[in-house]
């Protein structure tokens, strides 16, 4: 589950799996912008069946925050 999430997030951000750490603030990644944000939203929807409103999404700051949301919905 965790590996699947990291791989999917890395793909959305055009990064390598090993560049992503749970404690990272994902908006600080160099490749994070309004376009990759859409890729993350699409990834959450298609890979994990999670439809997030932006005001909820905006409360998640770290990779770990996002993973917690993904893993708790299963």
């Amino acid at each position: 589950m965790k590996d699947k999430f990291i791989t999917a997030l890395a793909e959305a951000l055009e990064m390598e799996d090993n560049e992503i750490k749970m404690e990272d603030t994902f908006r600080d990644y160099d490749t994070y912008d309004s376009l990759s944000e859409l890729s993350i939203l699409a990834m959450l929807d298609s890979d994990f069946g999670i439809e997030l409103e932006m005001n909820e999404y905006n409360t998640y700051l770290t990779v770990g925050d996002l993973y917690k949301r993904v893993s708790s919905s299963k």
Binding site: D33, S34, L35, L38, L41, A42, E51, E53, M54, Y57
Partner: protein
């Protein structure tokens, strides 16, 4: 719950028009460097679009499309008793542009004419109004003119919208005929999300002033626009589309009792290639049944559905065919329709 159906009313002919000025998006480096543009354009899939010049309005594009249609079908203009002009870029704040077009096209003074002000969902609303007035017996032949010059709405210095939109117009003739069979509509509105896509000033809530015309930096990326430019909160709109559109699609299909394998073409609003691809994937639809024009005309708001039909299905509607149409956008407003066409006249995409 706005779910409803009509019998034996349909589109008998359509034509389109676009400005002749082609914008090559990869080369459109007026305010942004090419490498940055490439990333955006690759993602949204809008390779080219058309921009109207300063003297060309949505009505001019519709007029050209209407002339192509009425001449091509050899329609007696006295028989047209309803003209609906759909746009959010009208000629004036008043009078309604539909009335100007009634005169310009030489339609009868006893014709009904009015405007519908909606965005990307509007073609479905226009159809439903024309179908209703024909079903009531008030009208025999209706002309829908749907045009937009969205290039004039959005700031070219706001990269969230600068590469998406293009200009176009269409004309569609609606009439009664037993050959059409049943059509089904689902129409929806959500004003709670009015802020997602908006031109905040220039109406009567925030009237035009020197202040509203001032260009300002609006975010941390340095994007610039005035309050009289349109803006779009892309991520929220994206979420709305991914969530509501497949839901509405399924709701209408269930209401109509139509097997989607009997649908010949699924024509979606051409928002951008990325979101349209995701919606199609979510609905598990076959690519070859989804015509697309977003690569060459961009997002033309309400015009994109009928423009895609005229441009891509020209030689494919000469038999009985079933179309599923799906529009979504500013309002928020969205809808789905299943309509049958039968030997539909499809004219040209005229260049103006």
């Amino acid at each position: 719950m706005a779910l409803f159906s009509f019998n034996n009313i349909g589109i008998s002919g359509m034509s389109g028009a676009v400005p002749k000025n082609v914008i090559n998006n990869y080369e459109y480096d007026v305010f942004f460097p090419k490498e940055e543009i490439k990333e955006v354009v690759d993602k949204i899939g809008v390779k080219e679009r058309r921009f109207a010049d300063e003297n060309t309005c949505a009505s001019d594009l519709c007029y050209a499309a209407a002339e192509d249609l009425l001449n091509g079908m050899n329609v007696n203009r006295d028989e047209i008793d309803l003209l609906i002009f759909i746009s959010q870029t009208p000629d004036y704040r008043m009078p309604a542009t539909s009335i100007l077009l009634q005169n310009r096209l030489g339609l009868s003074r006893s014709a009904i004419a009015f405007d519908i002000s909606l965005g990307c969902s509007a073609f479905l609303y226009g159809l439903s109004v024309a179908y209703s007035m024909i079903a009531s017996g008030a009208v025999k032949k209706a002309l829908i003119l749907d045009g937009e010059t969205r290039s004039k709405v959005y700031s070219q210095k706001d990269r969230k919208t600068a590469f998406l939109f293009g200009d176009a117009g269409i004309a569609a003739l609606i009439e009664k005929n037993d050959k059409f069979g049943t059509s089904w509509f689902s129409l929806n509105s959500d004003g709670e999300r009015e802020d997602l896509i908006k031109i905040p000033a220039g109406g009567y809530r925030n009237m035009s002033s020197a202040e509203t015309l001032k260009e300002k930096v609006v975010d941390e990326y340095g994007n610039m626009r005035s309050d009289e430019h349109g803006y779009m909160n892309g991520a929220d709109v994206f979420n709305f589309v991914l969530r509501e559109i497949p839901k509405d699609f399924k709701r209408l299909v269930e209401y109509a009792g139509v097997d989607t394998s009997t649908v010949d073409y699924f024509v979606f609003h051409q928002a951008n290639q990325y979101i349209n691809g995701l919606v199609a994937k979510k609905l598990k639809l076959a690519d070859e049944k989804i015509p697309s024009t977003v690569h060459k005309y961009g997002n033309t708001s309400s015009v994109s559905i009928p423009l895609t039909i005229v441009s891509e299905l020209k030689d494919k509607l000469n038999k009985h065919s079933r179309l599923l149409l799906c529009g979504f956008g500013v309002g928020l407003s969205w809808g789905t329709a299943i309509i049958d066409v039968d030997n539909c006249y499809v004219g040209n995409v005229v260049e103006v």
